[in-house]
C-alpha cells in the first residue's frame, strides 16, 4: 500500500531541494508518526562507494544528529528494514548482492539512492566495473545528492519524503 503511494508520488528520479539546516524534532515527529507509526527502519547498503557516504550515515547515529530520537534507526538486516539506503555507483561485483538484499527486504521496500555516484555513477561513470547508479539495477524511489551528502542533508531528505507521503503530494 505504502509502496503504491510512493510510486505515485515519485515518478522517476526526483531530486529534493534540501536545505542543510538541522531538522526540528517536533516537526519531524509530527510528520513521521502518521506514516511509519513512530518507527522507520533503515538498512544501509554499500554498493561500491568510496566509504565517505557510509561515514555520513554512521554520523546520523552519533549524539550530534542522534537520528534514533525520532524513531529512525539503522538496522543490521534487510529483513528488519522498511527502507534501503544505497550508496555507491553499484560496482558490478556488488550487483548480485544488492538485488538479493532487495529481495530479502519486506514491503514497502523503499529504495533511496544516497550520494552522487548512487544517482548516476558520479565520478566513476563510464568505468567498465560500475553501473550507472542504483536506478540501473533496482527501482529507486528517492535520491539524495551530495558527495558525500552531509548527515543533516540526509535527515532533511527523509523528512521531506515523509511530508510528501503524508500529503500525497507529487
Amino acid at each position: 500500500m505504502l509502496k503504491k503511494i510512493l510510486k505515485n508520488i515519485f515518478t522517476g528520479n526526483r531530486t529534493l531541494d534540501v536545505k542543510e539546516d538541522n531538522v526540528s524534532p517536533v516537526q519531524l515527529k509530527k510528520k513521521m508518526d502518521p506514516v511509519f507509526g513512530r518507527s522507520l527502519r533503515i538498512r544501509q547498503v554499500d554498493a561500491g562507494s568510496c566509504n565517505a557516504c557510509e561515514w555520513e550515515c554512521t554520523a546520523l547515529t552519533n549524539p550530534v544528529y542522534d537520528i534514533q530520537r525520532y524513531g529512525i534507526d539503522l538496522v543490521a538486516s534487510p529483513r528488519h528494514a522498511d527502507l534501503l539506503l544505497v550508496t555507491g555507483p553499484v560496482s558490478r561485483q556488488m550487483e548480485l548482492a544488492l538485488r538479493q538484499t532487495l529481495d530479502a527486504t519486506p514491503e514497502p521496500k523503499i529504495v533511496v539512492a544516497c550520494g552522487d555516484c548512487a544517482i548516476d555513477g558520479g565520478i566513476y561513470k563510464g568505468s567498465y566495473a560500475v553501473n550507472k547508479g542504483v536506478d540501473s539495477v533496482i527501482p529507486v524511489d528517492l535520491v539524495i545528492p551530495g558527495c558525500p551528502p552531509e548527515p543533516g542533508r540526509i535527515m532533511e531528505a527523509l523528512v521531506q519524503m515523509m511530508e510528501d507521503i503524508r500529503q500525497g503530494r507529487s
Partner: protein, 510 residues
C-alpha cells in the same frame, strides 16, 4: 626524472635475483610492484618493483620487459612474500603469469568475469553480454575455490558481503573450532570500480577528483600523493605556502581518523560511552574541516601545481578548535585507559608478529604497532615534513592495544605538528599555473595516510595524457595480515581486531 628515483633495467632472470638480493640484505622495504603495457612504444609489457632504502630517501626501481608472446615470468612470492597480491593483481589486470606462485586463483575478479580478459591491456575490450553476465553473477566462468579446513569439529562461518554494521562490503569465511578462529579467508574486491583504468580515460587534471574518491576518509592523502606524482613528473615545484597547506591538512586528516578509530574500537568492546565520545570529537573535527575547506572530507583543495585555498587565513579557528579538541581528547583517553573492561579486551588480542608484518610488507599504524619503525613522512620527507621535528611512534606489543596506543601517540604528534605549522608564515602563490604535462615521462608520489603509506606512479603518453596510473593504497598491503592477527582469537573478537586495523575496502579494491 625525480632525483630520488633510481630506475635499473634488467633481464627477466637478473631482475628476480636483484630483487631477492635487495630484499634479503634487510636494508630495503618492498613498497609496490606493478606493470605497464608498453606494447605500442616498446613492443613489450614492463614490470616494476619499488624498494625504498632504509635511512635514505632513495627509491630503487628495478624493472624488466616481457614479450606478449611469452607472458610468463618466475614468481618472486616464494622469496618475497610481500608481493603475493601484486603478482596476482598483475595477472588479473594484464595477463602476465607469475610461474611458481603458490596461489594462482583470481584476486580482483569474481567468478562471473570472463577468463582471459585483462582490462589494463590497452587493446582490451569487453562485450555488453559479458558485462551484463558479470553483474548478474549467475554464470561461473572461473570458479573461485575457497580454502577448506577439514577435521573433526571444524565449523565454517560465511559472513558478508552485506554486513550487519554500516561498513563496506567484503566476504569473510571463518573456519572455527569451537569459538576459536582457526583460519580466516577474506574475499574482497566487491567494490572494484576499475579506477586505474578510469584514470587513463581522463586528463591528469581531472584525475585529482577521482583520486579524492578512491578511499573516502583518506581523500586528502590520496589526492596529495596523486598531485605530487604528477608534479614530480612535470617537474613542477610547488610553493612553500602550498606545501604548508598540504602538510596541515594531511595532519588534520590523520587527527579525525585516528580519534574516530580509537572511538570505534570501543564499539568492538561494547564500551558505548567511549564509542560516542570518540564520535563526538570526530564530528567536531569534521565540522571544522567544513569551515576550513568547505568539505568535511577535505575535498576540492588539491590541484595539480598547488592548492585552492589558504587555510592559514583561518589560523584563529584552527588554533581554537585544536585547543578545544586537545582538552576533550585528553579526557577521552584518560577515560579509556581507566576503563579496565576495555583495556583488558585489547591487551594480547589480535597479535601480529613483527616477523609476519615484515614479510607481508605491512604498512602504517599496523606496522609501527608491530615494532617496524617506518613512516613515509620520515623515510621520504615531502612537503614540509623535513623541517618538522617528530619521530615515528612504534610499539613492540603487536596487539590491538598497541595499535590503539600508536594512534594515540600520533594524535598528539599531529597536534604538535599543526601548532608548529601555525608558528610560521609561508611565502609563495597558492598554486603555479600548469597547462601541459610532458610526454612519455613518469614519477612516483607518496604520502602517509592515517592507515599507512599510499603510492601513486603515473606515466604520460606521447600526448601528455595518462598512459598508466598505478595506485597502491595502504589497505592493499595490510588486508593479507588480518587473517594472521585473528588466528587463535575467538570469533567475537574479530570485529575488534578488524577495527584496530580499520582498513579501507574501496582503497584496496580500487
Amino acid at each position: 626524472m625525480p632525483e630520488n628515483e633510481r630506475y635499473i633495467e634488467l633481464e627477466a632472470n637478473r631482475f628476480r635475483d636483484h630483487c631477492i638480493a635487495l630484499y634479503n640484505s634487510g636494508r630495503y622495504y618492498p613498497r609496490l610492484m606493478f606493470a605497464a603495457d608498453l606494447r605500442q612504444s616498446n613492443d613489450c609489457f614492463r614490470i616494476y618493483m619499488v624498494f625504498s632504502e632504509k635511512e635514505k630517501d632513495i627509491f630503487h626501481i628495478p624493472f624488466f620487459d616481457l614479450k606478449e608472446n611469452a607472458p610468463v615470468y618466475k614468481s618472486l612470492t616464494p622469496d618475497i612474500p610481500a608481493v603475493h597480491w601484486y603478482e596476482r593483481e598483475i595477472r588479473d589486470m594484464f595477463g602476465l603469469i607469475p610461474e611458481g606462485h603458490p596461489d594462482l586463483r583470481r584476486l580482483v575478479f569474481h567468478d562471473s568475469f570472463p577468463s582471459d580478459s585483462y582490462p589494463l591491456r590497452k587493446d582490451w575490450t569487453i562485450s555488453r553480454t559479458d558485462l551484463n553476465e558479470w553483474g548478474e553473477g549467475l554464470i561461473k566462468k572461473e570458479a573461485y575455490k575457497f580454502m577448506e579446513v577439514e577435521g573433526e569439529g571444524v565449523h565454517e562461518i560465511p559472513v558478508g558481503p552485506v554486513h550487519a554494521g554500516i561498513i563496506e562490503p567484503g566476504h569473510f569465511r571463518f573456519s572455527t573450532v569451537g569459538e576459536t578462529i582457526f583460519f580466516l579467508e577474506p574475499r574482497l574486491f566487491y567494490t572494484h570500480k576499475g579506477i586505474e583504468k578510469h584514470f587513463e580515460g581522463m586528463s591528469f587534471f581531472d584525475g585529482v577528483r577521482l583520486a579524492e574518491r578512491v578511499s573516502g576518509t583518506s581523500s586528502f592523502s590520496h589526492s596529495a600523493a596523486y598531485c605530487m606524482a604528477v608534479e614530480r613528473m612535470a617537474d613542477i615545484e610547488i610553493s612553500e605556502k602550498a606545501a604548508a597547506v598540504r602538510t596541515m591538512l594531511l595532519e588534520l586528516e590523520r587527527l579525525y581518523n585516528h580519534i574516530g578509530d580509537i572511538g570505534n574500537m570501543c564499539a568492538g568492546t561494547g564500551v558505548a560511552i567511549g564509542n560516542t565520545y570518540g564520535a563526538v570529537i570526530k564530528e567536531d573535527l569534521l565540522q571544522f574541516n567544513k569551515r576550513l575547506t568547505g568539505s568535511r572530507y577535505l575535498r576540492g583543495i588539491n590541484i595539480i601545481g598547488g592548492v585552492t585555498s589558504d587555510v592559514f587565513l583561518k589560523a584563529d579557528d584552527i588554533l581554537n578548535t585544536i585547543d578545544a579538541v586537545t582538552v576533550e581528547y585528553k579526557k577521552f583517553m584518560k577515560m579509556l585507559l581507566g576503563t579496565i573492561s576495555h583495556i583488558e579486551r585489547l591487551e594480547n588480542t589480535g597479535k601480529l608478529s613483527k616477523d609476519i608484518a615484515l614479510r607481508l610488507g605491512v604498512t602504517g599504524v599496523a606496522a609501527r604497532a608491530s615494532g617496524i619503525n617506518d613512516d613515509i613522512r620520515k623515510a621520504h620527507p615531502h612537503f614540509l615534513y623535513d623541517d618538522l621535528d617528530f619521530e615515528p611512534h612504534t610499539s613492540g606489543k603487536c596487539d590491538v592495544y598497541a595499535r590503539m596506543m600508536v594512534r594515540a601517540e600520533e594524535v598528539e604528534c599531529s597536534i604538535s605538528i599543526i601548532n608548529a605549522l601555525l608558528e610560521n608564515s609561508y611565502n609563495g602563490d597558492l598554486s603555479s599555473s600548469v597547462k601541459t604535462i610532458p610526454a612519455g615521462s613518469s614519477a612516483l608520489g607518496y604520502t602517509e595516510t592515517p592507515r599507512g603509506s599510499v603510492f601513486y606512479w603515473v606515466m604520460s603518453d606521447s600526448k601528455g595524457m595518462p598512459h598508466r596510473v598505478k595506485l597502491r593504497s595502504p589497505s592493499f598491503c595490510n588486508w593479507p595480515a588480518v587473517p594472521f592477527a585473528v588466528h587463535g582469537e575467538i570469533v567475537p573478537d574479530f570485529p575488534l581486531c578488524n577495527k584496530s586495523f580499520n582498513l579501507s575496502y574501496s582503497g584496496s579494491d580500487m
